[in-house]
Structures are given as C-alpha cells and as structure tokens.
C-alpha cells in the first residue's frame, strides 16, 4: 500500500437506516496520521458518518472504501477501532474490565483458538494506555463514567487498530474524567495514531485536532484546518462565541 492511499474514502456516499439516507451524498477522505474532528449540531449526521464507515449503517448511494477496498468486501475489521457512544459500558451480567477489553481483541484472534501470549499482551497494553492498569479485575459497573469510557477506548485499542474512530468520547463525563480521557487520547496521538473523533465541541481535545469537518443537515459545510473561527464556533468556549458573534456553525463559507 503506497503512502498516498487514503485510509477511508467516501465518494458520493449517502448513509442511512432502513434505506433512508440521513447523511450525504458527500465526499470525504481520511489520510494517515490525521486527527480529524467531526463536528456539527445534533442531527447533522456525525454519528451516521461513523456508522457508515464501520458498516453498522447502510450505504444507500455511492461508495465507502476502507484501506482501498469497498467497505462491503472489507474483511480486516481489526484495522478499525471503534469507541461507540454509550451511556454505560456495563451490561446486565457483571463483567470485569479485562473481559470487556479482551472482547476488542477478537478481530485479531483465531476463531476457536485460545488467546495467545501476544493477545494477552495487547490487552494489557490497551488497559495501560488508558491509565486503568491495576483495575483489570474490577467489575465494569463499579467504575466511574469516565473510567467506563476509558474501558471502551481500551477495548478498541486491544485490536491494535490503524484507525481509531470515537463517537463523542467526552459526552456526559465530568471535568476530571474529561481530563483523564483527553490525556489518554493525547497518548494515542503522540504514539502516531490516526484518529477520527465525533465531537459536539472540541473542548480539551482542541490542541490535538489537525483537521475539522463540520456537518450540517447531513452535508459537509467546512473541511479544513482548525482555524480560530472554527475553533470559536465549536471550541465550546462561551466567551469565544461572544467575540466572534457573527460566525454561525453552518455556512461558514470556508468549504474547501
């Protein structure tokens, strides 16, 4: 694979549910090493973009390619790590941190084969990276909201993905939890990962973002560097909004 092959490519792609498109048709490309923030108001299609990428929502028009292959035929799902938006990571039945994180290792494991030492190490590393070392055997339900969110990040990392896709990782997490999460994400960026993060506002992740894609009503209205105006519109800083009073989220006129 040449350096110039995009990791993800949407070409005239529309994505939706039950045959009804909610997003697009639009074009979007993700390159290696980027940290892309997908922003926009509720209902703009941010989560749908992510779900279309991951094959969880239908591509009703156009094409989505993953690592150069059509998404419908793409088999190596371990190359994509997914951190979904979840109110709580715990299920009805108790499960330990390690068990939940280990379920993220499955795409890299042989079917019906016990976990190898390499598998175990990958799970350990994932737990360490998010700062939860020592809590492997704790039931997930007994963790704080922020810690549970970090377990979900670790789950995505256990598969050693090339691209990490996160859907509103900071939503509903208190400020301390957000700081810890931002630190975990920073460690990933520093480690050279490619990240696609759906965000309601840039918040504590702002310094890490290399590119912002703003959506409105299912279409891209801005796709470029995190300039101050964009930062002000989506940075989540109330004062900024007052200073840049004339800038509205949709129609920034900076498309391109």
């Amino acid at each position: 694979m040449s350096v110039s092959t995009p990791l993800v490519e949407f070409t005239g792609a529309a994505v939706g549910y039950g045959g009804r498109p909610v997003l697009g048709p639009l074009d979007f490309v993700l390159w290696t090493g980027e940290v892309v923030a997908v922003v926009g108001p509720n209902g703009s299609g941010k989560s749908t973009l992510v779900k279309g990428l991951l094959g969880v929502a239908e591509v009703t028009e156009g094409s989505v390619e993953l690592f150069g292959e059509p998404s419908g035929r793409f088999q190596d799902k371990g190359r994509l790590g997914y951190v979904p938006q979840r109110h709580s990571a715990a299920g009805t039945i108790p499960c330990s941190v390690r068990e939940l994180v280990a379920s993220g290792r499955l795409p890299r494991q042989r079917r019906l084969w016990p976990a190898t030492a390499a598998d175990r190490r990958a799970v350990d590393r994932a737990i360490e990276t998010v700062g939860l070392a020592g809590l492997e055997r704790r039931p997930v339900a007994r963790l704080s909201g922020g810690q549970q969110r970090r377990v979900l990040i670790a789950r995505a990392l256990a598969g050693e993905p090339d691209v990490l896709v996160m859907d509103e990782p900071l939503a509903g997490v208190d400020l301390d939890g957000q700081a810890a999460l931002a630190e975990a994400v920073r460690a990933l960026v520093v480690g050279g990962g490619t990240l696609l993060i759906v965000l309601h506002e840039l918040g504590p992740l702002a310094p890490l973002i290399t590119r912002v894609v703003a959506l409105s009503h299912g279409m891209v209205v801005y796709d470029g560097p995190p300039l101050p105006e964009v930062h002000g519109a989506y940075g989540g800083d109330a004062e900024h909004h007052h200073e840049h009073g004339g800038v509205e989220p949709p129609g920034l006129g900076l498309t391109g």
């Binding site: 979904p84 299920g91 108790p94 330990s96 499955l106 704790r138």
Partner: protein, 266 residues
C-alpha cells in the same frame, strides 16, 4: 429416580449456560415464548405418531429462527408478531393435543408442567447429546457470544458475524427449551434459564464467574428440586423453580444486610 436425576443435572447445566447470554441481551422472556411454540411441536408429534421430542425440537428451532428474524427486523410491530407466535403456539398445541391419540388433559399437563419420572433411557441419550452440544457451543464460542450479547453494534463493527451468532443463540434456546420440557415443563423453562443466572450475577464479579456460578446453582436447584419433589410428592418443575427463586431471594436479602461487604467493592 436415577434417570430423573440425570435429566435434572443435564437441564441444570444447559439452561443457565444459554440463559446467561439471553439475560445479557435483555431477552429474558424469550424462553417463555419458545416454550409456547414448542407445545405445538409436541402436539404435532403426538398427532403424527412421531417422537414428540424430535418434532418439538424441529418446530421450536423454526419458531426460534422466526422470532429472531422478527426481532432483528426492528419493526415496531415486533411485539405483536411475537405475541401471535407465542399464543398461537399454546393454542395450537392445546387444540392439536386434544385430537391426538392418547392426547388427554394429563398429557397436556405433563408437557406444560413437566413429568420427570416419565423420562426413558432413550430420552436421556438424546438429552445428553443436546446438552453436550449446547455446552460445546456456549463454551467454545463464549468470546463471540459475549461480544454480541454485550454490545451488538460494536460486535458488528468489529467484524463478527452478528446475525449468524444471534440465530445460533436462538437455536440454542430452542434446544434447551425442548431439553427442559420433561424436567420443568414448558411453562417454567424461562425460570431455569434466568433465575440461576440472576442469582449468580448477584455474587460474581466477572462474566466467567457468573457462568460457572449459574451452572452450579442450576444443577444444585434442579437436583434438590427433583429429590425434594419425590419426597414431598410435589411436581418437580414447580419445586425446582421455587427453590431457585428462594435461593435468589436469600442471596439478595443477605447482600443488602451486609453493607460492609458491599462497601468493600464486592
């Protein structure tokens, strides 16, 4: 009595093993519905003179696949479709059994509420085989089933064949229902799939521990229920389920009365 005990052990193992994933998916009543559908299978078997267990298994599996496809379609009318399936199953079974040779109210009762003492050695061979299959699949595919039942969307995103795994789970439930028919009866099957799991979940700190605990509790209540019903001259199904619920209640009460244990992070 010996055959009854063996049947009890087999059911005590299989029901919680499958029930664990059913409860995790928040489909705790699916076994109930499956039992209703199985009744028509039993009736067809009696009517046609074929083994009721085998025909019930075939009908239950078909019903399970239908239920899963309806659930998967995500249509809001799903609960109505399921209700029709379930009540059609009971009604069909009741009507057909009345027409079958040897189909009396007593026969109906035996299937609805269990008649463990009528278990034959031939039945045990079939039950043994089914239990072995259920256990092999729930243990062998535990990682995949855990992922799908815990977070189906994530499982799909990570490349697991979610639809096939859901269908497999439906077939496992159908199998367990038919397996448990003789011991607990079709009306109480869900209880044996759900209550030992709920009890173990009160005490365990991991999924694996819940699995082991649920199976241990399942076997314990099934065996003691059969023994108890023998001496107290009560129906085995009801006795087993009452013991299971009794144990669950004791565990819940004990946990709430031990605040220090709770605070210590159990």
């Amino acid at each position: 009595m010996q055959r009854a005990l063996v049947a009890a052990v087999l059911v005590g193992v299989a029901a919680p093993a499958v029930g664990l994933f059913v409860v995790q998916r928040r489909l705790a009543l699916i076994g109930d519905g499956m039992g209703h559908v199985a009744l028509t299978g039993v009736a067809l078997g009696l009517l046609t003179g074929r083994s009721p267990v085998v025909v019930a298994l075939a009908v239950a599996v078909l019903g399970a696949v239908a239920i899963e496809l309806v659930r998967d379609s995500g249509r809001t009318s799903a609960d109505v479709a399921l209700a029709i399936l379930f009540y059609g199953g009971i009604a069909g079974g009741v009507v057909l059994i009345s027409k079958a040779p040897g189909g009396t109210a007593a026969t109906l009762n035996a299937y609805l509420f269990g008649a463990i003492t009528t278990t034959t050695s031939g039945d045990l061979v079939v039950f043994g085989g089914l239990t072995a299959m259920v256990l092999a699949l729930t243990v062998g595919l535990a990682r995949e089933l855990f992922s799908v039942s815990t977070d189906e969307e994530y499982a799909t995103a990570s490349g697991l064949p979610t639809r096939s795994l859901n269908l497999l789970m439906a077939v496992l439930v159908a199998t367990t229902v038919v397996l448990s028919m003789r011991v607990v009866g079709l009306l109480l099957i869900s209880a044996l799939m759900v209550v030992p799991v709920a009890t173990a979940a009160q005490l365990a700190r991991s999924f694996r521990a819940t699995f082991v605990g649920a199976v241990a509790i399942g076997v314990a209540v099934a065996v003691s229920g059969v023994v108890g019903s023998f001496y107290a001259d009560t129906p085995s199904g009801g006795t087993i389920v009452l013991l299971a619920i009794g144990l669950f209640t004791v565990v819940v009460v004990a946990r709430s009365l031990l605040p220090t244990a709770k605070a210590a992070g159990r």
